[in-house]
């Protein structure tokens, strides 16, 4: 009994959890507010949620201040780890949720569905993401992953009287649960091979398995299953079919939240599982490992995402396909497997968060409602490309910001998207392997294809005639979000050094491991 109390998590362990605990607490609080507040005061919950995000950000700052010299800090029997990587992504998730809340306030006002539970679900999901960044054990990774996705299933089907929203959430739920099952089977095989659930312990045992070669094929099966589960979450081809449906059917604010936060979370998952637990399995002896697997997937994902996006007329669907292609670009960093590539992933995720949320903010600003057709699936909600017609005549400021976001998505300098893409491609070229250089060239070709459909949007905004006479109604919250996103997009493009520096310190731990690994990558480099 005494031993139990001695081993009980200490105060220090709990303090390390502070950012997550605060978000969870405020999420519960927002849920309670939903019952207390009268209908017209529900917007207060958004302020409360933002307050929670601010508190959490403050405690992250405190943790950085206190532990910046003594990272990583481990807690809860090594299930939880606080390192540069987790601090970086926690901050990124808080930025994403703060901007998403700003977008949501305006959108729920438009839909006359202002409720507190929406914010509460968003906070729960973010709490799951923050736990995921620090998870250092298969068990805690699985639980945080489910904490991320369960609230998002509900958020996608939030408008329960609209058939489109229903259908989207059902599809997302079935495929999401299916992919969790596959991922979990991969976890169970990994446990079967190593007898460990801790990431670090697995990372030590896997090289021995590869060396003895006794269970190589079982290891490969585990890697393929885990990769399939992770790729499902990030909507990479061939596991992307849920994304366009879920993105189109979901409330626009949910689409914005999903496309940035949930997507970034899937890269955190990728990093923890592949860069940290299985770096040595990048190439397994004579058979290809996950480096080649992800290389092929990245190439297919970029190309199919871009080609499909070029034929879309629905804005949300177009952005869904464009987000699929961005998943492909981001995978390039993982394929490169060096410090430049990993930094590229981190920088690109920051850039993607601000530019994509900005784009969805503009879409929400042009959203309007014809009365009395809420239940119709054909209702006009400003989601069609033609709804952007002549935006510059109605509001030059918003059209200009949209221009910045679209140029950034296409990767044109001097924007944040360009810096991210540059680092991702540079990582591949620095690696120097023949097929990786070709992959980088394919990436550049894809950037050109993507410019075709982004420029189509730019054209209708600036050249086409106005077709919708009603004026824009941009609320204060949305205006703030758009301004912050646009400023950050340009700032990271012009002066990227701070972000690159922080990203480098965040991925340092993986960079070291991948250099030590005996994978095919460094070997070919020496030839």
């Amino acid at each position: 009994m005494l031993a139990y109390f001695q081993a009980f998590p200490s105060l220090r362990d709990t303090l390390l959890l502070m950012p997550e605990l605060q978000i969870t607490l405020f999420a519960c609080f927002a849920l309670v507010l939903d019952v207390i507040l009268p209908k017209e005061k529900k917007r207060l919950a958004a302020r409360v949620s933002l307050l929670g995000v601010a508190f959490s950000a403050a405690s992250i700052a405190l943790l950085v201040y206190q532990y910046s010299d003594s990272l990583p800090q481990k807690a809860f029997y090594d299930m939880y780890v606080l390192d540069g990587f987790s601090l970086f992504f926690k901050a990124l998730f808080l930025l994403a949720v703060a901007l998403s809340i700003g977008v949501t306030i305006k959108y729920l006002d438009l839909e006359k569905e202002q409720t507190s539970e929406y914010y509460s679900l968003m906070l729960f999901s973010i709490a799951g993401m923050m736990f995921l960044t620090s998870s250092h054990d298969l068990i805690s990774i699985y639980v945080s992953l489910e904490l991320i996705t369960l609230p998002v299933y509900v958020l996608v089907g939030y408008f329960k009287r609209i058939p489109k929203s229903n259908e989207a959430s059902m599809k997302y739920f079935l495929l999401g649960a299916f992919s969790s099952g596959i991922l979990l089977y991969g976890f169970s095989l990994l446990y079967a091979l190593t007898g460990q659930t801790n990431i670090e312990a697995i990372a030590q045992i896997v090289p021995e398995i590869i060396k003895t070669g006794s269970a190589t094929y079982l290891l490969l099966l585990a890697i393929i299953l885990i990769a399939a589960g992770v790729l499902f979450k990030m909507a990479a081809v061939p596991f992307h079919s849920w994304a366009p449906d879920a993105y189109e059917g979901a409330p626009t604010s949910t689409t914005a939240f999903m496309s940035v936060a949930v997507k970034s979370a899937s890269y955190v998952l990728l990093a923890r599982l592949f860069f940290e637990a299985l770096p040595s399995a990048g190439s397994v002896g004579s058979v290809p490992g996950w480096t080649q697997l992800l290389g092929v997937i990245a190439a297919v994902t970029m190309t199919i995402g871009n080609i499909a996006a070029a034929t879309q007329t629905n804005l949300k669907r177009l952005l869904a396909y464009s987000s699929i292609s961005h998943a492909g670009y981001l995978l390039l960093g993982a394929v490169a497997g060096n410090e430049v590539g990993y930094t590229g992933i981190a920088v690109y995720l920051v850039a993607y968060t601000v530019m994509n949320l900005g784009t969805f903010g503009v879409i929400i600003s042009i959203t309007r409602h014809d009365e009395g057709d809420a239940a119709s699936s054909e209702r006009n909600t400003g989601e069609h490309i033609k709804d952007l017609n002549g935006l510059v005549k109605k509001s030059p400021a918003i059209a200009l910001m949209m221009l910045v976001f679209l140029l950034s998505l296409a990767g044109i300098p001097p924007t944040a998207g360009f810096m991210g893409k540059y680092l991702l491609f540079a990582g591949l070229i620095k690696n120097g392997t023949d097929w990786m250089t070709k992959l980088a060239v394919l990436g550049v070709i894809n950037t050109v294809i993507s410019f075709y459909y982004y420029s189509r949007l730019i054209r209708v905004m600036f050249i086409a005639d106005l077709t919708e006479e009603r004026p824009l109604t941009v609320g204060k919250s949305l205006q703030t979000v758009l301004l912050i996103s646009a400023l950050l997009t340009i700032l990271i493009g012009i002066y990227p050094q701070p972000v690159i520096k922080i990203s480098e310190s965040a991925i340092k731990q993986f960079g070291n491991i991948s250099d030590k690994a005996s994978g095919v990558v460094p070997k070919l480099n020496n030839d």
Partner: protein
């Protein structure tokens, strides 16, 4: 004493039945049951290896998987009900408002 490989084979078979069922079945509830079958296959592997390695991690994992599966079922069935209210059918082939 049942050898370890039997457990692995059984769990692989269960997992395959579940995964194939997800693609073949057309009713949402049946698909959901197939997904639960996949999770149970995972649980079987974990428990088998937990007793093989004579340690507790695997069994702990199983408890957590079962709890999360229950939460997932809660959310999933709620979604199913809201879908059924709108369209009076649970056939996934008829959910085709959103198309390519």
């Amino acid at each position: 004493m049942v050898p370890l490989s039997w457990y692995l084979i059984l769990s692989a078979i269960l997992f395959t039945i579940g995964a194939v069922g997800v693609f073949l079945k057309r009713n949402v509830i049946t698909i959901f049951m197939c997904i639960e079958l996949m999770l149970n296959a995972v649980n079987l592997t974990l428990v088998a290896f937990s007793s093989f390695y004579k340690q507790v991690y695997g069994q702990l994992f199983v408890f957590i998987v079962m709890t999360v599966a229950a939460a997932e079922a809660g959310v999933g069935l709620a979604l199913v009900i809201s879908v059924f209210r709108n369209r009076e059918t649970l056939d996934v082939d008829k959910s085709n408002i959103l198309k390519l």
